[in-house]
């Protein structure tokens, strides 16, 4: 479903990971511009993945969109502190996610105009 909503973004390539460890593995082997991270994963908590990524100096500024079913302020705060760039509460409209991703990518291009 997430993938389908992102399909709207042209000129992007996607890699999928179904578990937390796999997500980290993909991070290790692929050069990523952005991560859409669902906090709900079978093996480890999404927040732990987030913290791991942020602990690593190479990925300090990598934009991460966090998806979750929990909309309360505490969860939001926890995610922000762990390093979420954007926080979306499910359910959301596909366009909302696509727009959030586009905004972040545009911002990243402006910040480091490489190509």
């Amino acid at each position: 479903m997430v993938r389908a909503s992102l399909q709207a973004i042209e000129s992007a390539e996607f890699v999928e990971a179904s578990t937390g460890l796999e997500a980290i593995e993909q991070l290790a082997v692929t050069r990523m511009q952005l991560i859409v991270l669902d906090l709900n994963m079978p093996d480890m908590h999404g927040i732990d993945v987030l913290r791991f990524v942020r602990r690593n100096a190479h990925y300090k500024s990598l934009p991460i969109v966090v998806l979750t079913t929990r909309g309360d302020e505490t969860s939001r705060q926890t995610a922000k502190e762990a390093g979420a760039t954007t926080y979306l509460t499910k359910p959301f409209a596909p366009q909302t996610l696509a727009q959030a991703v586009r905004d972040l990518l545009d911002a990243a291009v402006e910040a480091s105009p490489r190509a």
Binding site: S18, I24, V29
Partner: protein, 655 residues
């Protein structure tokens, strides 16, 4: 639950299939646990298994975001973890709570599948929480701290992913899966090396003597054995021999039944084509020189053999052990026995007997019904049993056996037995027609299975799911099987279901009446006899012949279907079907032989004719009708009881 998203639906289907497997395995482990409470090694094994199943159920439920299932599985897992770590021990109350929890989990998943509201879980959670009791709520992390009580060896395994490895399918999930098959992963964590490389570190506990490196089979993982501090000598443990236990590795592929059906259909078409080819070959024979002909013949025979092997191979793929039905029964029996204040022991036999998946799915409810009946109506309460000099604990035996192309399922109990008089009285009260005179088992069964017989029982929870005996019988017949009853007053009751191992392609005997050919499944034919027409006696509307010690009612297909007979004068060939009072003979002009036929069900109600279950093609393009023994048997019985007084009703012709 259709979400309209094909990908997600497929995902959900996988989830349902997988959770069903784990639930069924959990039910099995629960029974083992129930029996082994207080017997450490067996108890420990059951707890470990359960822990694994609930852990997986939790994980897969989380993936499909089925929160209540995830939460419930989590709490069950939590309790089992406490047991594993010696914080509490398994009690009967604990085992009951686990059983209830498993059942609720199944309900939640089924409700989710059906799109109906999910049952609540709070009561079960409270029960489980009570068990864990004062030991306190521990945070459930995947990296649970391991205590020293864990036996076996500890290993530290490191895996560094690379793009190349991933491209060849070796990723962290595969590593984790393999390690999980070799032992128990107690910790899994990612690490960043100083040069920014990411690695994954797993802490694994295996049984003694397992060689992790060997078992990983070439997956590049660095493995270090940790030395158990207590017994340094064991660290030098010799590597496992090559034939180390490898039961954990799964070689199972799950295949959608529809794909197998498709393959089966292609094979079915090939069987027909092959028969046509044989026909063309026999006509071509005289135009081919003898030497050439031999080669043609050899190849034809070889392709015959291979086709048969292919067909058998595909059928074998569809076969699953009957144990799948049996597995859930112990829980059902245990619960129902408690509810009814009875003591019942369930014995399972022949669980490895294999039967077509299609059949097993349909037999689940009927067998369940028979088992429930055995508990609630078959077995006596302990006091009654003692008074009759029986052991206070009743026994229900559920057995399966394969005999040729048939599978026999038996549900037997050592209880009251069926009281013929009570059955007859009840049938009369229900307004059913009851044959006069002493009844044999087949007639009693007929009454038990009459629609409307067991109305009162149906409201009884024990009978469950609204599947009465009538439905059981209907299902067995739909699957072209038969059901018989064997009972001894005071000694017990035995229901015997005979089913074909598989449907679709079967061996059949072909009989001819006039110009028409009829096929009858070979499995249902008990005997083939020849009778002299002069021996036929007219009794009311039946024709009977002396047979063994009694009489055999005869149905002449020529009369049933209104076809002019061309039999040699005075002689008829008869297929004998059925047992006891359900036995009957089907008379044809002549018996042509035995063939492998492809059954095509006549599902169109406009084409349906009583007594005909389907049609087949013998290869010469002519359609052959397949007789339905069960319906023919019913027709004779009805006729015997004069339910159909109008003989003209028999003259209905196939369209």
């Amino acid at each position: 639950m259709a979400t309209g998203d094909a990908f997600f639906d497929g995902f959900l289907d996988d989830y349902f299939a997988e959770s069903e497997e784990h639930l069924s395995a959990a039910a099995d482990a629960l029974m083992r646990l129930d029996k082994s409470i207080g017997h450490p090694p067996a108890e420990r094994a059951a707890v470990d298994d359960l822990f694994r199943y609930f852990h997986t159920l939790k994980a897969i439920s989380a993936m499909v975001e089925l929160r209540p299932a995830e939460e419930l599985a989590h709490h069950l897992e939590h309790y089992l973890r406490a047991v594993r770590e010696g914080e509490c021990s398994v009690t009967t109350a604990g085992s009951d709570a686990l059983i209830e929890g498993t059942r609720r989990l199944e309900h939640i998943i089924n409700a989710h599948r059906a799109g109906s509201p999910l049952p609540p879980i709070e009561d079960v959670l409270a029960r489980v929480a009570h068990l864990v009791g004062t030991s306190g709520e521990r945070p459930a992390a995947t990296s649970a701290p391991e205590d020293a009580t864990e036996t076996g060896r500890r290993w530290t395994c490191r895996f560094v992913p690379t793009r190349e490895l991933l491209a060849s399918g070796i990723g962290v999930d595969l590593v984790r899966k393999r390690l999980g098959e070799i032992g128990t992963i107690v910790e899994a964590a990612p690490h960043v090396l100083p040069d920014a490389t990411i690695s994954f570190q797993f802490t694994l506990i295996t049984a003694d003597g397992v060689n992790v490196v060997e078992r990983l089979g070439g997956i590049p993982v660095s493995v270090e054995a940790e030395t158990p501090p207590a017994e340094p000598g064991a660290a030098a443990a010799e590597p496992a021999p090559a034939g180390a236990p490898n039961a954990a590795i799964s070689h199972v592929v799950r295949v959608d039944l529809a794909r197998l059906d498709h393959l089966m259909q292609i094979v079915g078409d090939m069987v027909i084509t092959r028969a046509r080819l044989a026909d063309s070959l026999s006509r071509a024979e005289r135009h081919v020189p003898a030497a050439e002909w031999r080669a043609v013949q050899e190849n034809a025979l070889a392709s015959d053999r291979q086709l048969r092997m292919l067909r058998e191979g595909i059928m074998r793929v569809r076969m699953v052990p009957v144990g799948e039905i049996f597995r859930r029964m112990p829980l059902v029996v245990r619960d129902l026995a408690r509810e009814n204040g009875k003591r019942v022991k369930l014995e399972l036999r022949g669980q490895a007997t294999e039967i077509d998946k299609y059949l097993i799915e349909r037999m689940m409810d009927p067998v369940l019904h028979l088992v429930r009946n055995a508990v609630s109506h078959g077995i006596e309460p302990p006091e009654v049993r003692i008074a009759h000099g029986k052991s206070p604990e009743g026994t229900i035996t559920l057995s399966a056996a394969a005999v040729g192309d048939l599978v026999t399922l038996e549900v037997a109990d050592d209880g009251y037995g069926v009281d013929e008089e009570a059955v007859v009285n009840k049938a009369r009260q229900a307004g059913l027609s009851v044959p006069s005179g002493p009844l044999d088992a087949a007639a009693v069964l007929g009454l038990l299975c009459s629609p409307g017989f067991s109305t009162k029982e149906e409201t009884d929870r024990a009978s469950g799911r609204g599947v009465g005996m009538a439905v059981v019988k209907a299902m067995v017949e739909e699957l072209t099987g038969t059901m018989t009853l064997d009972t001894d007053p005071g000694q017990g009751t035995r229901f015997i279901l005979r089913l074909p191992v598989t449907l679709a392609i079967t061996d059949a005997l072909i009989g001819r009446v006039g110009a028409e050919a009829f096929a009858i499944p070979q499995g249902s034919v008990r005997e083939v006899i020849e009778i002299v027409e002069a021996d036929l006696r007219q009794v009311e509307e039946n024709e009977i012949v002396p047979y063994r010690d009694g009489a055999l009612p005869i149905i002449r297909l020529s009369r049933l279907f209104g076809i002019a007979s061309t039999a040699r004068t005075g002689r008829l060939h008869v297929f004998v079907l059925g047992h006891g009072s359900a036995a009957m003979g089907i008379a044809v002009d002549r018996i042509v032989g035995q063939r492998e036929i492809v059954v095509r069900t006549l599902a169109d109600s406009l084409v349906r004719v009583d007594g005909v279950s389907g049609a087949t093609d013998l290869g010469d393009g002519r359609v052959v009708l397949i007789l339905d023994p069960a319906v023919l048997a019913r027709l004779t019985n009805q006729r015997a009881r004069r339910v159909i007084p109008d003989a003209a009703a028999w003259g209905r012709l196939p369209a």
